[in-house]
Symmetry: C2
Subunit: 315 residues, 2 copies
């Protein structure tokens, strides 16, 4: 198992620069008042392909040698990694196949196809996803870019926290959602190197609390197909992300479904930005753990904005 | 009738700086591809109180002498001017009364009250609004800050285009929504002075096309209570805004209701920003008049983001 280093992050930064946005950091005096903290929202919902995952995907795709690249890339993903890998492969002009749960939002499937990707559907469980995917790779010989358990992907995601730390001095904490742990691992990789006094909190839906239970147990616990409105956070930790989570994360904080929906609504209403339910989990946990964050400077990663506007969770 | 000058704009800029945001200018490669133009979106949906109207309201409120200010301010408004005047009065610590149509979104009434404003309801027509308002002013002696037919308000709104022109060089055109004409008049005031080669287009719902008919007829035509999803654009031109529209606007472009809703949906989906139906009218007219804008650098004013998230027009 190769553990990516901060040099890999610097290389990723150079490699992906032409293909991604440096996203803005927004603040809200209303939400500062409500939480008692000073919040800095890193808005990856404004990122290319609508999510931070384009960072890791671009790093993987543009790091391939010419011969490997010809056979294309493939992945399985609950959504944003699929869009992102399709976007990156499209920019390089190589084939891309994505295995997606048949229950994934139609908007995400259409967007993958819009970027030139081929969608192969599976059942909405980790086991089905992995079985279908094995067939796809065996047939095409495509390079597998895992959504998070891949050092190239983690080094790419790590560029997000680097931009945040460059923009905001002296953060006491950074809070990011945790599903498979790619964003959190990238944050750990960067922050432990360039801002070692900044604490890293992972925010997770109570309904898909496998990372929290893993964190407490000291080993990976994986659930098959948990149900949560935060559909980007259903997947389990893997060895590589567990390495970062177990070594660098301060705590894993949980939020109930209604708390996630309320935090999402509040952000749309007050900050006027469109973001996914998964992106609302950090704010939900900050609102819930006021004492932990009040008086602190807190970075909050808004991971993506790819939501089905016809099916909003508060409707 | 006092016509505000560019010196008034410079004074407004100084006066309101502590109370407003300098809002970002966003771009979208997707929407550029779709329109063939290079679009620069001035995002007043991120403005304090959620709309550009806080510029004019703050200029009026903070320009009052101490004795006048004591009696407070009052206005009638279909929404955003109400929030904005309440916000500005709250910052100065003076009373504010707002006459609003009883059909205005509950979210807007609640927000006025949240800023400390008193809401007095009227029927949803221009005639009822003006009658109820006359009573309010007679009783309180409050200073009337008209939502748009007021030189202080127009000078304030004019600071928005000034920021846009400062940020983006060489715009061929600026497109802004037109209701009563406050934003358009402010844009005319600034642009005719500092970017005289930039053409100014007003964008109006076909269902409330009184400004377009006025523009063609050469005099003000006012409708009572037109019906459109773009609820900020129902009010008619008045003498002061007519002065700017008749002298400086290149054309008034129209959009159908469904075109406005489609442009709004598209912006939320691709730019990940929350904006009002009124703010979508410029993009709707740009999509409809491709030949007029293709190949051009075009500023687009997104006027506000105060929308009822429980009643989205595409649902």
């Amino acid at each position: 198992m190769y553990i990516p280093t901060f040099d890999d992050v610097l290389a990723a930064e150079e490699r992906i620069r032409p293909f991604i946005h440096r996203t803005p950091v927004l603040t809200s005096s209303y939400l500062n008042g409500l939480t008692g903290a000073e919040l800095f929202f890193k808005c990856e919902n404004f990122q290319k392909a609508g999510a931070f995952k384009v960072r890791g995907a671009s790093n993987a795709v543009f790091g391939l040698d010419a011969e490997t690249a010809k056979k294309g890339v493939a992945t399985h993903s609950s959504g944003n990694h699929a869009l992102s890998l399709s976007y990156a492969a499209g920019r390089r002009g190589i084939p891309v196949t994505v295995v997606m749960p048949r229950t994934a939002p139609e908007a995400k499937k259409a967007a993958v196809r819009g970027y030139g990707g081929v969608v192969v559907e599976c059942e909405p469980s980790t086991s089905s996803r992995e079985a279908v995917f094995a067939e796809v790779v065996a047939e095409s010989g495509a390079d597998f870019v895992h959504p998070y358990n891949d050092p190239r992907v983690i080094a790419g995601q790590a560029t997000c926290s680097r931009e945040l730390i460059e923009e905001v001095d002296g953060l006491d904490a950074v809070v990011a959602p945790i599903g498979g742990g790619g964003m959190i691992s990238g944050s750990c990789l960067t922050i432990s190197k360039i801002a070692p006094h900044t604490k890293i909190y992972a925010a997770e839906p109570k309904n898909a609390d496998d990372a929290c239970r893993s964190f407490k147990a000291g080993h990976i616990i994986a659930d098959d197909a948990p149900q949560t409105v935060a559909d980007g956070l259903k997947v389990p930790l893997k060895e590589l992300t567990w390495h970062f989570v177990s070594n660098h994360v301060e705590d894993v904080l949980l939020a109930e479904e209604q708390e996630i929906i309320d935090a999402m609504y509040l952000t749309w209403q007050r900050m006027k930005i469109v973001m996914e339910p998964s992106s609302a989990v950090p704010l939900a946990t900050i609102l819930k753990n006021r004492d932990l964050f009040a008086g602190k400077k807190v970075g909050v990663i808004i991971t993506g904005g790819n939501v089905d506007l016809n099916k909003l969770p508060w409707m």
